[in-house]
């Protein structure tokens, strides 16, 4: 069985028909991680015992002949910022080294209840801060499609593991593009659900008004299947919205004919790689062939999205990360002479440079004398950005854009210049700030063989429409 091409449905069906067992698949994936992850470094810990226990339960279910649940026996990896009970969950930070959370994230629990076999915790940028997966305290992740290049970030391990056959699907999180961009860089599919669509209970917080859990898979149908299972309210998360859910797998069989597709001119400007531009044009042509009408639109505040994002996300991070103080969990400095020194030294030893940089920036913009000029200003521009999208979606059903301005860059290429790294987020952070849903769909590769992703965006809670359009692009 080729572990690189399994999908959620083909895995479930093969186990249902008795062609393989969940146990054999879990063992095959675990063996592959052991043998091959030395190069990629996408896995921080395997959850072998839990995986094999769940797999043997699925195999018992399969023997009854009853229809198996949607993710039965599917090996799934979990980004390390999501908690898995009793398994090290470190957010790829030294400050949480060895931390074993006392509870499962709701998204993890729901996947497991739908039959998924949780197989590994996956590497990422420390506290999900980064766009290249070069900020992990446990080493960089390499792009399986080009080992000298970044896999994207922050969910770089989640995208790389799916791309290289360590798991069939995975969970990432997306605060400013962290599911969609690595999915594009590794040639897999990554979904950003609407803010509030999936519970964040058990997500180690970075920026609470932006953080979202999102699935990564090998097809639009795979992420739709995972969304079906994870979407909906949760008593453990007041921000998990009660807006009714659609059947997102059913959306796969709906027609795109007659849909109005918007193409924002601001997303096709200077700095866009011509091969990526060609892939977007190609996707648009396919949508036309499927009966969509295509309209140029404007999202006039687009150029302000990145600076707005870096003010708001860092401000929220400076507050959220104050909980890491060496008292209740995680790293504590060996010898501190008083409580204040204990906080400072534990944090100094525990946090990496990008996390410190963002905490400092966030603290600065929230500090006395600068709050109005930076934080409040950015919140006002956020209103303008959200209004741009809401006006657009009063006219079009979905928006199609490039996912990234360039293909994955070389390891180390941008690490000395935070601003150039942040600018790579230009097409991702708008949707993050506006709270709308989006998806990255593979759309071919460059002549050098580097994956290209096309982004589809839809309005708040319009995931069904989003997935219908994404599927039409996928089927080109």
């Amino acid at each position: 069985m080729d572990l690189n091409t399994l999908t959620i449905e083909s895995t479930r069906a093969a186990i249902q028909r008795g062609e393989t067992t969940a146990t054999a698949l879990a063992e095959a994936h675990l063996a592959r991680i052991l043998a091959e992850d030395g190069t990629i470094n996408s896995v921080l810990a395997t959850t072998e015992e839990r995986a094999l226990r769940q797999a043997s339960f699925i195999d018992l279910l399969a023997k009854t002949g009853d229809p198996l649940p949607p993710l039965a026996g599917v090996p799934v990896g979990i980004k390390d910022v999501l908690t898995v009970k009793g398994t090290p969950s470190t957010a790829a930070s030294k400050i949480l080294k060895g931390y074993q959370p006392p509870y499962d994230a709701t998204a993890v629990r729901k996947l497991e209840e739908a039959g998924a076999v949780i197989i590994a915790k996956l590497n990422c940028d420390e506290f999900a801060m980064g766009g290249s997966n070069e900020n992990s305290a446990y080493g960089i992740v390499r792009n399986p499609r080009a080992l000298d290049r970044v896999p994207g970030g922050s969910s770089g391990g989640s995208a790389a593991a799916v791309a290289t056959g360590f798991c069939v699907a995975s969970l990432g999180t997306d605060t400013g593009g962290s599911v969609r961009q690595p999915a594009a860089f590794c040639g897999v599919t990554g979904l950003l659900p609407t803010y509030g669509r999936i519970s964040r209970y058990g997500l180690i917080a970075f920026a609470s008004s932006l953080d979202r859990v999102g699935p990564i898979g090998r097809s639009v149908q795979d992420v739709a299947t995972m969304l079906n299972v994870m979407a909906g309210p949760d008593v453990m998360d007041a921000t998990a919205d009660k807006t009714p859910c659609d059947d997102y797998v059913d959306a796969m069989s709906r027609s795109v004919a007659g849909m109005r597709i918007g193409v924002p001119k601001e997303y096709l400007g200077e700095g866009l790689d011509p091969e990526i531009r060609a892939a977007v044009d190609n996707a648009i042509e396919k949508l036309k062939a499927h009966g969509c009408t295509v309209h140029e639109i404007s999202l006039p505040h687009t150029k302000y999205a990145v600076p707005t994002y870096y003010v708001l996300a860092t401000a929220e991070a400076s507050s959220n990360l104050s909980r890491f103080d060496g008292v209740r969990f995680g790293h504590r400095t060996a010898e501190a002479k008083n409580l204040a020194a204990l906080y400072r030294e534990s944090r100094d030893e525990g946090f990496g440079p990008e996390v410190k940089r963002r905490i400092l920036l966030g603290t600065y913009s929230l500090s006395s004398g600068y709050y109005d000029a930076y934080y409040r200003k950015a919140q006002q521009v956020r209103t303008l950005l959200a209004r741009d999208f809401m006006a657009a979606f009063s006219d079009v059903d979905a928006i199609v854009t490039p996912m990234t301005p360039t293909p994955p860059w070389k390891l180390g290429e941008k690490t000395d210049d935070p601003v150039s790294m942040y600018l790579a987020d230009i097409y991702t952070v708008g949707a993050s700030l506006a709270g709308i849903c989006g998806i990255s769909v593979p759309a071919g590769e460059t002549k050098d063989g580097l994956p290209i992703g096309v982004q589809v965006l839809a309005g708040h809670f319009q995931e069904a429409k989003l997935l219908t359009v994404a599927q039409a692009i996928e089927n080109q």
Binding site: P102, K242, T308, P353, K356, K377, Y422
Partner: protein
Amino acid sequence: MTDMQKKQMVSEDEVRHVATLANLELTTKEQAQMQRDLNSILSYIAELNELNTSDVPPLAQVSELLTETPTSAWLREDIRRESLNRELVMDEAPETDGRFFKVPKVIER
């Protein structure tokens, strides 16, 4: 150009001050690096000043935009639920007697 937009917006002293506010300790080398990075990021962020936002309300949470579900509808019922297992929670503490978190002396005599 306003004061905000000038280069070197953040001085060395300010970096130290912000680090203190954030409970971070920085080495001298880190301080210089962070000062350089903060200034480069802040001069980029200053682009936001091109926009007149005097009549624009700030947005803290996108849910504020969505009228479908009023905030009151999110509140869960106020009923008693099981809490996390105390033993598991305290097990993760660096230093504990099983009931309390232990820390060094707070007030020096």
